[in-house]
Symmetry: C2
Subunit: 444 residues, 2 copies
C-alpha cells in the first residue's frame, strides 16, 4: 500500500511504502527554478545596473504599484518614522521591543571573538572579527507586513557591529507599515527605501544614485526575489536565499495530537508553496493528528485555509516510519527549516538531528516562539539547504580575516620546511622571500 | 602625471593621479567571467548529471588526458598510497607532517562551541555545532602539484569533524603526485579520485555511480573549475571559489625594500593572471622597491619570470599614496587575498585593515609562512571578495542549527506578545499553536 487514506485532505503516508515519485516531491518541495525565472528578470537587473534611479523608479511603478516623482522620495524621511510611533498600538510597540531585546541578546552570544594563539615558538596566529561595511536587508511586504522579519535581520546586523544598515521593503501606494518602520528605527537602521521585489535586490547589489551598493544582502522573498539574489551572487554575498516556509514535527505517542496538528499547519499557513509535515512512528497517533488537523483546517480563515489545502495536495502530509530511528533519519534527509520535537528523551533525540534550521524542543515549544520572540533567527535555510548551511546570524554580517605574526627566530625555525614545500611545488620566490630575510644586511 | 616611469616593467603609480581606467583594471583584476564560460561548460555538467560515470570517464580522457578502463580505477587504492610513502623524500614527509599539525592546531582554535543560554525565565535558546555529512575537496594538479592545498583543505575538514571527506585531483597519465597522496592519507581523507577540472566539480556536485554526491565543495582551481563551482551553487554549498592569487604589501619607509620586493613578486609568480602590489606613502621608497623588484625579476627562472612579466603589465604595480592613511584606505578598497604589513606600529595598523583574506604582520612574516605552515588557511577570498567573506575554515564544513526550549510557564509569559505579533502579521495558526497548549485538557 503506497499511501494510507488518500481520500482525506490530510494524507498519511507510510515511509516504507513511499513511492519514489511522491518522495521526490515531498523532499524537493517548491524549489525556485532559477533558469525559469532568469530570462524574465535579467533585463530588469541589467537595466537597473546601467540606468540606476531612472530604471528603478520605472520598475517600482510597474511592480510595486507606487508612484514616486523624485528618486529622493523612495527614501523614508524622519517625520514618517515619528508619525509611525504615534500610529501603532502600545502593546505592539511593547512586543516589538521585547523581540528586539531577545534577538539582540541571542545574537550577541553568537559573536565570535578575536584571538591570538602561539602555534610554535615565535609564530603567533590569530583570527580577527570584522563587521562588513554595509548590509542590505530585504523585508517583504506590500500585501502583508512583516515587522518581525525586520527585527530578525536588522537587530542581528546591528549586533554584528555593522555601521551602515539599509533596508528595502515594498510600499503600499507609497506608504510603509508603521510597525515595520518603528522596528527598523528601534534597530538603528540607517536608511529605509520603499522598494520591493527584483528591483530592490538589483538596486542594493549594484547601487544607484540614491541606493548605496551593499556588501551583503540578506532576507527572504518570493521566487522572483530569491532568483534575483541567486543571479547576483557575483556582485554581493548572498548565501542561500530562503524559499517558502517549512515546518516539520517529529513526535512519538507521548505527544499531544492536538498540539502536533497545530504545529503541522503552522508553517503551512504561510502560502500555497509552504510545507507542514509530521513524522512519527505510530499509525494510531498519525490518525489522531489527522483528525485534529482536519478539524483545525476547517476553522482556518481565508486565505490561510486555501493555502494549506493547496500545499496539503503537494508538500504537506503525515509520515509514518517503522521505527523512531527511521523517523529521525527522514528528518535528517528532509532537513527542515523549522523542526518541532515532542517525544520521550527529546534532548537526546536533539543530538541525533543533524539537519535543521532551528529546533523547538519539548511540548511547550511551538515554532511560533522561534518565529518571533525566542531570540534565535527566524530567517533560515529552506528546501533542504539546512544540510549545508545555517540561518542568518551575526556571521552573515562578519568577516574573520586571519593573522600571522612571526619573529626572526620563529622564521628561522620554519625556514627549512617552507623551502622544502615551496621548492617541491615549484615556487622559487616563495622560498626567496624567506631567504632574503637572512641575507647578510645589505641596504639598497 | 598619471603614471610615474611607465617605461619600467615594474610600474609606479601615484594614487592621487590613478586614472579611472587603470584603477578599474587593478581593482577588478582577472575575474572569471562566468557568462563567458557557462556556455562552454554547461553541456559537460549536464552530461555528467545525466550519464554519470560514462560521461565522467569521457571527460577525464578528453581534459585530464588520462585513460581509465573501468570507473573503479579512478579511485586511488591502498597499495598506491603505501607506495607513495616509500617514494617521497624524508624531509618532505617531515614538512607535510608539520604543516598538518599547525593547520589542525589553528583550525581547532576556530571551532565554535555548542551552548545554551537563558533568554528569559523559562526560555532557553542555544546553538549547536554540527559537521556536514560529506565534504568534497578539489586539489588542483596535473602540470604542477599542490600537497599544501591538500593539507589546507583536508586537515581543516577533519578538524571540523566531517566524517566523509572525498578529494578530486587530476592525474598525470593516471598517476598522482606521491606527496599529495601522502598528505591526503595523513589527513584521513576517505576517498581520493583521479579527476580534474570541470568534470571533478560536476561529479562531486551530482554524484555518479562511483563518486558520492557531497554537501560542500571547497578548493581552488583555474577559471573553468571556478566557473563550474559557481554554476553548481544550487546543488551544493560553494562560497566564493578562489580566483588567481594576489599578494599586497603595505609598507612605509621603515621596511626593507629588498624584502618588500620579494613579497611583491611572491604571489605574482603563481600565474599570468596573479597580482603583486605594493602600497606605500613614499616615492623614494617605491623607487627602491622597484630597483630590487627589477633585479629579482631577472633572476627568476621560467615559467615564473614570464608569468610575473605578464601580470606586471596588467595587475601588478607599486602604488604611492599621499599619506599612509590613504594607503590603508586603498588596501581596504582592494581587499587583497594576502596582505603583508611592514611599517611603524604594525599592530595598530592591523586594526585598521577591514578587508583582507589573511594578514602577515611585521618584517619577519613573509606571505609564504602563511601559504604553507603557519596554521591559518591559505585557501582565501580573491578578487575583492574579502570585503564580505573569509577564507576556508572549520566553518566551511559546519552547520550551526539553533535550538529553543520553552517551559509551560515560560510559554505563558510569552503568550501575549506572540499573539500580538502573529495576529498583526495575519497568521492565525501561529497564535493558535500557542493557545492550544493552554486549553483545558482535552485528549482526542
Amino acid at each position: 500500500m503506497k499511501c494510507v487514506s488518500k481520500n482525506s485532505e490530510v494524507k498519511i503516508i507510510k515511509l516504507s511504502s513511499f513511492s519514489e515519485a511522491e518522495r521526490a516531491i515531498v523532499l524537493t518541495r517548491s524549489k525556485t527554478d532559477i533558469l525559469d525565472i532568469a530570462g524574465k528578470i535579467s533585463p530588469i537587473l541589467k537595466d537597473i545596473k546601467l540606468n540606476g534611479n531612472k530604471a528603478l523608479i520605472k520598475y517600482i511603478r510597474k511592480f510595486d504599484g507606487a508612484e514616486f516623482d523624485s528618486p529622493k522620495d523612495i527614501e523614508v524621511k524622519q517625520p514618517e518614522i515619528q508619525e509611525a510611533y504615534k500610529t501603532i498600538p502600545p502593546q505592539l510597540l511593547k512586543t516589538i521591543r521585547r523581540c528586539i531585546r531577545n534577538v539582540n541578546k541571542f545574537a550577541k552570544t553568537q559573536l565570535a571573538k578575536e584571538y591570538y594563539v602561539q602555534i610554535e615558538p615565535g609564530l603567533i596566529a590569530g583570527r580577527r572579527v570584522v563587521p562588513i561595511d554595509i548590509a542590505g536587508l530585504y523585508v517583504p511586504g506590500g500585501k502583508a507586513v512583516y515587522p518581525s522579519v525586520m527585527v530578525m535581520l536588522a537587530a542581528t546586523a546591528r549586533a554584528a557591529g555593522v555601521k551602515n544598515i539599509i533596508v528595502c521593503t515594498p510600499s503600499k501606494d507609497g506608504k510603509l507599515d508603521p510597525a515595520t518602520l518603528v522596528a527598523a528605527d528601534l534597530c538603528g537602521v540607517d536608511k529605509i527605501f520603499k522598494i520591493g521585489g527584483v528591483q530592490a535586490i538589483a538596486a542594493m547589489a549594484f547601487g544607484t544614485e540614491t541606493v548605496p551598493k551593499v556588501d551583503v544582502i540578506a532576507g527572504p522573498g518570493g521566487p522572483y526575489v530569491s532568483a534575483a539574489q541567486k543571479l547576483l551572487r557575483e556582485e554581493v554575498r548572498i548565501d542561500f536565499p530562503p524559499g517558502p516556509s517549512e515546518g516539520m514535527v517529529l513526535a512519538d505517542t507521548t505527544a499531544n495530537p492536538r498540539f502536533v496538528a497545530a504545529d503541522m499547519l503552522q508553517e503551512a499557513e504561510h502560502g500555497p508553496d509552504s510545507a507542514g509535515i509530521v513524522v512519527t512512528d505510530s499509525m494510531e497517533f498519525a490518525e489522531k493528528v489527522r483528525k485534529e488537523a482536519v478539524e483545525l483546517l476547517e476553522k482556518l480563515p481565508e486565505p490561510r485555509k486555501g493555502y494549506v489545502k493547496e500545499n496539503l495536495r503537494k508538500y504537506s502530509c503525515i509520515i509514518v516510519a517503522e521505527t523512531f530511528g527511521d523517523a529521525i533519519d527522514f528528518v535528517n534527509e528532509y532537513a527542515p527549516e523549522h523542526l518541532q520535537i515532542t517525544c520521550k528523551n527529546a534532548r537526546q533525540v536533539l543530538k541525533r538531528i543533524k539537519n535543521a534550521g532551528t529546533v523547538c524542543v519539548g511540548e511547550y515549544s511551538p515554532m511560533s516562539v522561534g518565529n518571533f520572540i525566542a531570540g534565535p533567527n527566524a530567517v533560515l535555510p529552506t528546501g533542504g539547504d539546512a544540510k549545508f548551511i545555517s540561518g542568518v546570524s551575526v556571521d552573515t554580517f562578519l568577516k574573520k580575516p586571519t593573522v600571522e605574526i612571526v619573529s626572526k627566530k620563529g622564521l628561522g625555525r620554519l625556514r627549512k620546511d617552507i623551502a622544502c614545500i615551496s621548492d617541491f611545488e615549484g615556487f622559487p620566490t616563495h622560498t626567496y622571500s624567506v631567504d632574503v630575510r637572512f641575507e647578510k644586511k645589505r641596504r639598497c
